[in-house]
Symmetry: C2
Amino acid sequence: MPSPTRYVLGVDLGGTNIVVGAIADNDGAHVGVRLEDTPTAAGAEAVVDRIVTMIEAVIAEAITTNGARREDFLGVGIGAPGPLDRAKGIVIVAPNLGWRDFPLRDAVADRVKLPATLDNDANCATLGEWWRGAAQGTKNVVGLTIGTGIGGGIVLDGKLYHGASDVAGEVGHTTIDSTGRYCRCGNYGCLEAYASGPAIALRAREALERDEASVLHRMVDDNLDLLTAATVYDAANHGDALALEVVRDTAKFLGTGVANLLNLLNPDVVVITGGVTRAGDRLFEPLRAEVKRRAFRPAVQACSIVPGKLAGTAGMVGAVATFRQQKLGAL
Amino acid sequence: MPSPTRYVLGVDLGGTNIVVGAIADNDGAHVGVRLEDTPTAAGAEAVVDRIVTMIEAVIAEAITTNGARREDFLGVGIGAPGPLDRAKGIVIVAPNLGWRDFPLRDAVADRVKLPATLDNDANCATLGEWWRGAAQGTKNVVGLTIGTGIGGGIVLDGKLYHGASDVAGEVGHTTIDSTGRYCRCGNYGCLEAYASGPAIALRAREALERDEASVLHRMVDDNLDLLTAATVYDAANHGDALALEVVRDTAKFLGTGVANLLNLLNPDVVVITGGVTRAGDRLFEPLRAEVKRRAFRPAVQACSIVPGKLAGTAGMVGAVATFRQQKLGAL
């Protein structure tokens, strides 16, 4: 008789949505992925309630459709915004969630009566892309997750690199222009201040003050407050000159930050995930060109710069991988 | 009868000098360190001749004063300017030496009839500081070697991190100002273009055009072409206002680059070696302050930023360590 299929649950907790799923340990199939995109700023206990409800729904679906048993679920990997204390399972500060020193790992583990692990959301997304996505089969990977902020993760030899105090991988908060734009982290000239979603929208709004002709005005009914990075990508994909320029500038900023990664870490792959990838080759081609201009040739030749493949599930998949590595000792 | 003491030789090949020594494997004492500071641009074969002569002198001294036997020397670790092909033992390009595709490792190994390894000089200096110097007993270290250029090395878990094509650790060629000064690597705004020895001298010369009072004019007999970074440190240590400003600016530039390292790699220690450390706390205090302003607090709290302890021997000591790790399997 074959041994039963086991599952590990993954939770990806973001500022605006929660993704929960489970991955089977034999063929790696996803089971019962759930996405909830209600803003998550409702307070820590309410968020835990929703996570638990989603976990129970995923387990119930696996029992119904896959013939799983409850005891086949080995645990829960959780990805959450940092900074975190991984050892204690605590979210130290999460501005988008309004949290401070919240013991998320144990709060979830106690409710679902399963062991759990906690890691940074961008770390999980990077590990997910290495395990099942765009960086499969490679050795050293840097991931950038571009959304409200720019998160990052570093996978070396198939393991997340965390550094001395779980800060490692904060690509978004590396300076590309030491006297440049103010960043909400308190620093000046961070990559995030130029190339996060809100920064892209801000640069577009600034440019629109000097350009009456752009289709972007019409797309937001002349209310520039409504302009988001997604509007910019859509306009660029329709050939709007101003939007295309904003995307090209974004590529140059990202290219500078990525070139720094190449000269410093010489990775096999840089994986970029998040809304910005909607701009497609309009972004990636000038980005690669900028990296080529700035980084050492052997580092450029060794590295692929690619969009992520897992879209919204990279963080959930990577959360499963972190649990497996930490608690089961292997993937 | 105790087993005999064994030795590993280390060679640190720089643009202007060569250091050779040997380290015993029981108490780790250095033996017969030799320094030759003739410029090394005399052609590859001549440089190999000099390295071999120095190695033979170190071996002869150990035989005479330590009672060593020739068969007690296990091999030679070599540190040289990059980019390198470590696997093949080839220096791909070394502008300061005028070399291209030179098989340095085997050229030395064949002559001294000992196995040899080749690694980047700044990598060796970082590993040396971790093994015997300012970063002893720590886990993750980034080293900056500031001289004609700014080299760097990354030690993770006590091992050099090389990346996909031996480029990793090029801290000097990370961009801190994307539209900034031209760097000889072809990029704009590299840390090296602001804080290497020649860049420090250049910034001082630029400032001196607007300042008649500085003691620096007199120190170089009004010939600004003679001004070097060392002159600037000396003038700063004598309280010259312009030199102090140049040192403070250097600290800000270095601080920006080091803050990027903290947010990206979250190391336990950043070790800075080279002539710039002659400026002492006049450099390190504002440097640490700049890092504190720019990097995440948990990364700042976890990291010591210190001058190297091994002065001119860090590269030689680290070259010994790379040989031991690669060929003997342990330190």
